[in-house]
Amino acid sequence: MVNLSNRSHFHTLLDAVALQGEHDECPAIIYLETDQAPITISCRDFREAVIAHAAGLQVMGIAPRDLVIIAHTQNLESIYAFWGALWCGAIPSMFPTLTEKLDPDIYLHSMAELARLSGVRAIFTTDEFEPQLAARVSCQVFGSEHLARSVAVANGKLHPSTTERAHAERNAVESKHARSSAHALSAERGRAGRDAFSPNSNEVAFLQHSSGTTGLQKGVALSHEAVLNQVASYSEAIALNDQDVIVSWLPLYHDMGLIAGFILPLVQGVPLVMMSPFDWVAHPALLLHAIDDYRGTLCWLPNFAYNHCARRIRQRDSEGVSLASMRLFINCSEPVRYESHQMFLERFAANGVTNEMLTVSYAMAENTFAVTQTPLGQAARLDVVDRIELEQKRFAQPAAIDHPHAQIRVSCGPAIVNTAVKIIDEAGNTLPDRAVGQVAVQSDCMLREYYKRPDLQPFQEGWYRTGDMGYMADGEVYIVGRLKDLIINAGKNIYPQDIEAIVNTVPGVVPGRAVVFGVADEREGTELIGVVAEVTTDNAQERKHIATQIRNAVAKQSMVTVTYVHLVGERWLIKTSSGKIARAANREKWLAETQR
């Protein structure tokens, strides 16, 4: 297992414990699905499948440093494709696949843009989606069947075509060249079977893409070194050990799912019990049963998931289920609410959940993952502050719990080892304790760059400015909001301008006269999405039709559901002096008008 003292023995992600021969009989992944028998993949199975897929990818012409997008259903095939790409030195990136709700045209357009801007070499996807995607993007597209065939050819189970033979020969030459390179630090070390491509440890390992059309063009490029540094530092923060079992329902195209629920367990050789997010959202009890059946110890959840589990797991599904094996539930990736933890604790105390298990981490893709983690063995610290002082004076003034403006803020904990956090003002000056400013981060696990975007410089004087607003108190970080408008809905980052652009295309909406904002929701434990749009019609029927069209359009063109649609007459919306629509002011006006 990589830790702070043996870190220098690990050079690339291919030194992952699950890929070495020493733990061959131990489970690497246990894959669960509703009404299906669990699939257990041992470390040996995992390694063999990864090597077989790597060979398959080479037959398909994938070469070192090629960008490979995996836009697939979350399943074992996509997992093997990801690690297979790493094995042959390519740069994989996980993407959401097209769902039945999304408009294929919008999705195809964004994939085509991605392929064009980032120089994608190939996209791996499902068989049914392959022809549609292939017709639209400039790179190669391979479905499951094609991948399976190439894997079979590469492993001598099928005869190769001429192209496949040519690719295999070319790759053999490149691979030989790579092995003789002076930088082949970890070549051959402990690896049975075919050779992995050994890159420099500071080369890009994979990309994490943030959501939204704005984010699509921004691939966070992480080096092997950065990811291993994060794994070592974060493992220390959570005291990861060989008795741990990680349980995850998280999507792999999101940093929390990709790092905590995928890379970390496989690099460390800790069993990973996983399920598809689509399965989990409709059947949340699956997570509880997984913890009970496999004696899970670690689970990362965005805040809304605490509410979802507490409110939507049926009594019958939680009776007799033990969660007492858990060490930590780690709340991460959206603002943490005290009420969500309380709701979860009350609902599952009888199943063995304790307050001490409920910890918090502040994380972001640009830092690979975790920036902070609350101390173990105790519940995340609470800070009671004066809400009015916080909002108006940007200062977290401590207040008594019975103060009329008392607000409970949950700590995200101190920075993990080798990561530094400071709070800065607009000029970049460091602010004192309890003053609210922008959170800036410096660490040894930061992104290398935004992939093929030299115009975007992530660092200013060596610090990454996160865009999150927060304060420090007694060495711990508290997050209070965002510098720019951003809605975090069920753990997903949503740029309001992306949704506004969709609403503006709906017939009946006055173009350019729509505003989208987040509405904090106690019941759901997340921000819901509200739309206010100006329309010219007063006819109630027509307005209802437009409202439905807005909901349909957003569902089809984005990955979110609008909860509130409020249609108003012309000139209702407030604009700023520069003529832009003022989101916060319009949100306040809507709240007052609808008395929420």
Binding site: T34, K101, F278, V281, A282, H308, R312, I313, R316, A553
Partner: protein, 83 residues
């Protein structure tokens, strides 16, 4: 046994008020509630809790899918079928 009409109207009212959050929404029997973006798939789990509390019926997870529970007609038929 619950009366089908009562069940349908109760479900309709519940979905509009609690899940779509617009009690006046004119929800039809056949429109795709999830595929049409009126509610997300999280709401399937919510619906299961409601049906259990209100009608004392447990819908198995295998039936709680977008394909099987997208319209009011589908939901009513599933509840009427019983456990």
């Amino acid at each position: 046994m619950v009366d089908e009409r009562v069940l349908r109207e109760k479900l309709r009212a519940y979905i509009c008020k609690e899940l779509i959050r617009d009690a006046s929404y004119p929800l039809t029997d056949t429109e795709g509630i999830i595929s049409g973006g009126l509610m997300d798939s999280f709401s399937l789990a919510e619906l299961a809790v409601y049906v259990e509390k209100e009608f004392g019926m447990y819908i198995p997870d295998s039936d709680l899918t977008v394909a099987k529970m997208d319209t009011l007609d589908q939901m009513v038929a599933r509840v009427m079928r019983g456990e």
